[in-house]
Symmetry: C2
Subunit: 588 residues, 2 copies
C-alpha cells in the first residue's frame, strides 16, 4: 500500500513531458485489452490520461493490471511517450501522449457501481441520492461543484475589495416565526426552551449596521421548514449583504458590479450595465410577472382605454370594478386549431381564469365567437393598439388586476415555450424590479400585511400616503431577476423609530406585539441606527442557472429529497430515549 | 431625513483634500463647545474626522448642532480646511484637517449608551453581551472582526490557489453521537425522527474524497452540546480540509504554506518554515504537554537513568512500575521562601500529585529535606544531567508516566508565568506534534479506545503491532500548536476496509455496531476510496491568539454565555404549543 506522491494530475501531461518519469494516482475509468496490451484511462478530478501496460515493457505491472476493474484506485509510475500515430485522441487535452507503466500499485479495489458513472444516462434520482458519493464522480456534478466554488470565490473577492466585512452570525438563534416555519433545537441546559435555526440573518445584519460595521456580507446557510414543493431545500445558501448610509442606487451599483464579475470570471462575458430597471406595476402590466423573463419580447397590452366604453358585460365589469383587460399577441398563431385553443383555455382556467378570449386576425378583420360584442371602432382600436397583423392570434383576459395579469403572464411563458422563443444561446436577461407595493390587503382578515417584511422602508415621498391611502404606498424594495427567476431581493430598511411605529400601526401590530416580536431590534434602533439597506442572493438558484441545470439539487453536494430526507445516511433518524430525556422532550 | 451619499469615509480626508466640498456620514463620537464653536469628532468604521460648526460660517448648521449628543447619527456637508496651527492631532490620520460644516442633517438620535463605548474600560461582560450591538462599536471589537475577516479571505485565497474546492456540507445531518453530544432538530415531516447538527463534517469530507473531489475545504460552523467550561461555545468555526493521495508530509506542506500566508498578510511577519516537528513522546517528556508552549525554553528532564538504582522508595516505585521521575530547573529560584514552595506544592497537589520534591542548588551542593535519600553519586548525577547552577531551584515529580509529565508540564507553565519568561514581543512558537498513540487504554472498561477517531490510520510500520501490542501503535495523527494552544488537528485516514475491520476489532467494536454507527461511510469505501487525510483548524482560537485576546468571545460577533444563552435576544426561549405539536414533541 506504499505509494509515491503524484508528480502530475491526470489532466496535466502534454507533449512537452515526453520521456519524463511520472507518477499518477487515480481511478480506472475504462480498460481495454488489445492484443495482450492493456490500456487504462486513468481518471482524477483534473482529467484523464491513458496509461499502457505492455508485457514486454514491464511484465510485473502487466500481470497486476490484469486484475484491474472500473473504479479501482491505483498509483502508477512510468514514462511519458508520444502516442503511436493514428491513436491520438483529440478529445482529450492529454490525448497526444500516454504513459508506459513500469510500476503499478492497487490502492483500493471497487465493487461494481449501482449505475454508470457517466453523464447523459437517465438514472433514477433516488438511486443517485442514495449513492451520492458515486453520483458526484460524474463529470456534470464535478463541473457544477467547481462552478459553485468559483461563485463563492468571485463573490468574496469582489465584496472584500468593496470594503465589506465578512461576519458570521449565529445559527442557534431565537425563534421568531414569520411566514415560514422555524426549525427548532431543544436546549439541554434550559428545560422547555428552544433555539431556532435562522430563516435569514436579517435581524443580525441590521444590528451589525447599528454597531457601525458599515458593510457586512456573509455566504450563509439558511433554513425553512416548509413543505418542499418543486425545487426547495430545507437548507439553502444566501449571499447576504447589508450596507449603511445608502440608497437603492448605491445597492444597485454594488450588485451590478458583482454580477459583472460573475459573468466575466465564470462565463467570460461582458455584462452590459446598468441593468434595466422596471417598476413592479410596469412589470405586471407588460409581462404579467414580478420576475419577467426578458430573454424574449412578447409584451402584454392593457386594453382598458380602448374598451372603456365597451357594452360587453365582461369588460364593462372588469373596468368598472377597477380591474383590467389585458391582451397578448401570439404572432403567426392565427391558424391554431380549435383543439389547440381549447388546450390553452384549459391552461388559463387551471390558473383561475373564468375563460380565455381568443381572436384570429384576418386580412378582413378580427374573427372570433366574441367579436360580435365589440364595436367596429373597438375592433379597429385593438388592431391598432396591438399592431396586430393578419395571421396573428390575440388573447384577451379580464378581471381583478394582479390576478388577471399574472395569469396572462403564465400564458405568455407558455406561448414562448410553444413558439420556442427562448434560444439556447440567448444572452442573459437581467433586470431590477423596483417600486413594489409596501403593503398587501388581505381580504380574509381585512387588514394590510407587509409585502416584504415590516422593516422595509416606504418611498420617502409616499410616507404621507401611509395614513391616507396605504395601498398606494410603494416600498424601497427591489428584486434582481435573471431569465425569469428571482435571484436576489432586498430593500432599504426603516431606521427611524417613529416611521417604524407608523408601519406597525398600519399593519395592525400593537405596541405589545411589536415589542414581543421585534423588541431587541427595536431597542437597538434607539441607540443611533444609521440609514441602511441590503440584499440577499439565492446562491443555489443562481448557480443552477449558471450551470444550465433544471434543479438546484444538481448544484448541491448532498441535497435532500422533497420530503427533507437524506437518502444516503437516512437522516432524519430515530434517536435514543436517553438523548430525548437529556433534552427534556418526548415524542407525543 | 433626505441625505446625500458620502463622498469620503471618516478615515479618508488628508491635506490633499483641502478646499474640497465633502459629505461625511457617521456617529457623533465626542462633542466639545469652545467659545461658541462646536467641534464634533465624527466616527465611522474607517476612522474619525473633526467637523466644525461656527455660527459665522453657517448659522443654521450651528443651531442644529447644539442638539447633538454622543452617538447621534448625522450627515454633514462642508469644506475641508487645514486645522489652525497648534490644533493638529498627530494621533489621527485625519488630524491635520477638519471640515467646516455648512449643512447638517440629523439622521437618527440616540439615547445614552449603558456603558462607555471605549476600550480599556472594565465593563461587566453580561452587560456587554446584552448590548452587543453597542459593544461592537468599541474599537477593539471592530479591529477583531476585521482581523477575522482577513483570516477568512487569506485562507480561501490560499486554498483556492492550491486546487482546493470549497464545498458546503449539510447542517441537517444524521445523529451519530461520538464523544460530545449532538444538538438535535425534530422533524416535522417524519414523526419521532430527528436531524443532528454536525460536530464536524468529518464523514462528508471523507465521502467527498471517495467521490474524487481530490481537495476539499470549507470554513464551517460546527456544534457541540457540551457543558461550556472555560472558553467553549456551542457553535464554533473550523477551517476544514481533506486531501486525496497524500501522506502526512503533504499536509504539513500545505498547512505550513497557509500559516506563512496568515503571518505575512495579517502580521507582515515572515514565518520560517518548515515548522518544527516533535513526536508526542518527546513533547510529553520535555514539556509535559501535547501542546507545549515553546515561546520559552525551560525543558523538563527525565531522571530515570540517574536514579535507576535509587534506594528512595518513591523513585524506586515509580521506575519499577514503568513510571517516570521527571525534573525541572527553575533558574535563579534557589532563594524561594518556604512559603513560596508551599504554594507550588499545593499547585501540583491540586493537579493530583502526591507531593513536590524541591531542591536548592548551592555552591556546596544540593539542599533539601529529601536530599538525604539520594547518594552522593546520584546528587552529582542530577547536577550534571540538569546542568544545574548554584542559585537554581530543582523540582522532581515521580509516578505514572503521562500523568506525572502532565503535572510537571503545568508547573513548567506556572514557573514561566512567575519568571515572566513569555515576552510580549515573543515570536510565535509553532510546532507540529506527531506520532500520537493510536489507542488509549481505559482502565475502567478494560478496553482500548481510539485516541482521535476510529478512522485514523496507524503508522504503516506499526500495523503488525495492532495484534501483538496495540498500546505501542502510533497514529498518523498530528496537531498544530501555536503558543501552547492546539489550533489544528488531523490525521491520515484508513481507506482500506481490511485495516478498518482490524481497527474496529482492536477497539472492541462488533461488525454490527460498526455497520450501525459508520455504515454509510463503510459502504462508500467499497466503491474505490483513495488514500486520504485532512486537518481542521479551530478558527475562533486562532483568531483569538492573532488578536492577542484572552477569550474567543472577543473574536465572535454574537457569542453565547457559558450556559449557552444569548443575552441580547434571550435565546433559547419558549415556543408555542402549536409549534411543538407540529413537531410531534412535548416537554417532559
Amino acid at each position: 500500500m506504499k505509494f509515491n506522491s503524484r508528480t502530475h494530475t491526470c489532466g496535466e501531461l502534454r507533449e512537452s513531458n515526453i520521456d519524463e518519469h511520472v507518477v499518477l494516482n487515480g481511478w480506472v475509468d475504462t480498460r481495454r485489452d488489445l492484443g495482450g496490451v492493456i490500456f487504462i484511462d486513468l481518471r482524477d478530478r483534473y482529467g484523464i490520461t491513458q496509461v499502457v501496460f505492455e508485457p514486454n515493457y514491464n511484465l510485473e505491472a502487466h500481470n497486476i493490471a490484469k486484475d484491474l476493474r472500473s473504479e479501482y484506485v491505483i498509483s502508477i509510475e512510468g514514462r511519458v511517450r508520444m502516442r503511436p500515430e493514428g491513436t491520438e485522441n483529440p478529445q482529450l487535452p492529454t490525448g497526444s501522449i500516454d504513459v508506459m507503466v513500469d510500476r503499478l500499485v492497487i490502492l483500493n479495489k471497487a465493487v461494481t457501481p449501482p449505475f454508470p458513472l457517466k453523464d447523459g444516462v437517465d438514472i433514477n434520482e433516488d438511486l443517485r441520492l442514495k449513492y451520492r458519493f458515486l453520483d458526484l464522480r460524474r463529470p456534470s456534478l464535478q463541473r457544477n461543484l467547481l462552478l459553485r466554488h468559483k461563485i463563492y470565490q468571485v463573490a468574496r473577492k469582489y465584496l472584500d475589495e468593496n470594503s465589506f466585512v465578512e461576519i458570521e452570525t449565529p445559527v442557534l438563534m431565537k425563534s421568531t416565526p414569520e411566514g415560514a416555519r422555524d426549525y427548532l433545537v431543544p436546549s439541554r441546559l434550559h428545560k422547555g426552551k428552544f433555539y431556532a435555526l435562522p430563516q435569514s440573518p436579517q435581524q443580525y445584519k441590521q444590528l451589525l449596521m447599528v454597531s457601525g460595521m458599515d458593510r457586512y456580507f456573509q455566504i450563509v446557510k439558511c433554513f425553512r421548514d416548509e413543505d418542499l414543493r418543486a425545487d426547495r431545500q430545507p437548507e439553502f445558501t444566501q449571499i447576504d449583504m447589508e450596507l449603511s448610509f445608502v440608497d437603492q442606487e448605491d445597492i444597485f451599483q454594488i450588485v451590478e458590479g458583482l454580477m459583472k464579475s460573475f459573468y466575466k470570471e465564470i462565463k467570460n462575458y461582458d455584462l452590459p450595465t446598468p441593468i434595466r430597471r422596471i417598476p413592479f406595476d410596469e412589470a405586471m402590466e407588460t409581462y404579467g410577472s414580478d420576475k419577467p423573463d426578458l430573454r424574449f419580447d412578447l409584451k402584454m397590452t392593457t386594453l382598458n382605454d380602448v374598451l372603456s366604453k365597451s357594452t360587453f358585460r365582461v369588460y364593462q365589469d372588469a373596468i368598472s370594478k377597477g380591474g383590467i383587460v389585458t391582451s397578448l399577441v401570439a404572432p403567426g398563431c392565427g391558424d391554431y386549431t380549435r383543439n389547440q385553443l381549447d388546450v390553452l383555455t384549459d391552461f388559463v382556467k387551471k390558473l383561475g381564469a373564468s375563460g380565455l378570449v381568443w381572436i384570429r386576425v384576418k386580412e378582413e378583420g378580427l374573427e372570433s365567437p366574441t367579436v360580435k360584442f365589440l364595436t367596429e371602432e373597438e375592433q379597429k382600436g385593438i388592431i391598432e393598439k396591438l399592431n396586430a397583423k393578419p395571421g396573428d392570434l390575440l388573447f384577451i383576459l379580464s378581471g381583478q388586476k394582479l390576478k388577471t395579469l399574472s395569469i396572462m403572464g403564465s400564458l405568455r411563458l407558455e406561448m414562448a415555450r410553444r413558439l420556442e422563443l427562448i434560444k439556447p444561446d440567448a444572452e442573459p436577461a437581467l433586470l431590477w424590479v423596483t417600486d413594489f407595493p409596501l403593503l398587501e390587503w388581505d381580504v380574509e382578515t381585512q387588514r394590510y400585511y407587509a409585502m416584504h417584511h415590516p422593516f422595509t422602508s416606504p418611498r420617502i415621498e409616499d410616507i404621507e400616503l401611509m395614513t391616507t391611502d396605504p395601498g398606494k404606498v410603494k416600498a424601497r424594495a427591489y428584486d434582481l431577476v435573471l431569465n425569469g427567476s428571482e435571484i436576489a431581493g432586498g430593500s432599504i430598511r426603516i431606521h427611524d423609530s417613529e416611521l417604524q411605529s407608523l408601519m406597525f400601526k398600519t399593519i395592525g401590530i400593537s405596541d405589545e406585539e411589536a415589542e414581543y416580536k421585534f423588541g431587541f431590534l427595536m431597542n437597538a434602533f434607539k441607540y443611533g441606527a444609521p440609514p441602511h439597506g441590503g440584499i440577499a442572493f439565492g446562491l443555489d438558484r443562481m448557480a443552477m442557472i449558471f450551470a444550465g441545470e433544471a434543479s438546484i439539487r444538481e448544484v448541491m453536494a448532498f441535497p435532500k429529497t422533497a420530503s427533507a430526507t437524506s437518502l444516503m445516511d437516512d437522516a432524519p433518524s430515530t434517536v435514543s430515549e436517553d438523548q430525548l430525556k437529556e433534552l427534556h422532550i418526548k415524542i407525543r
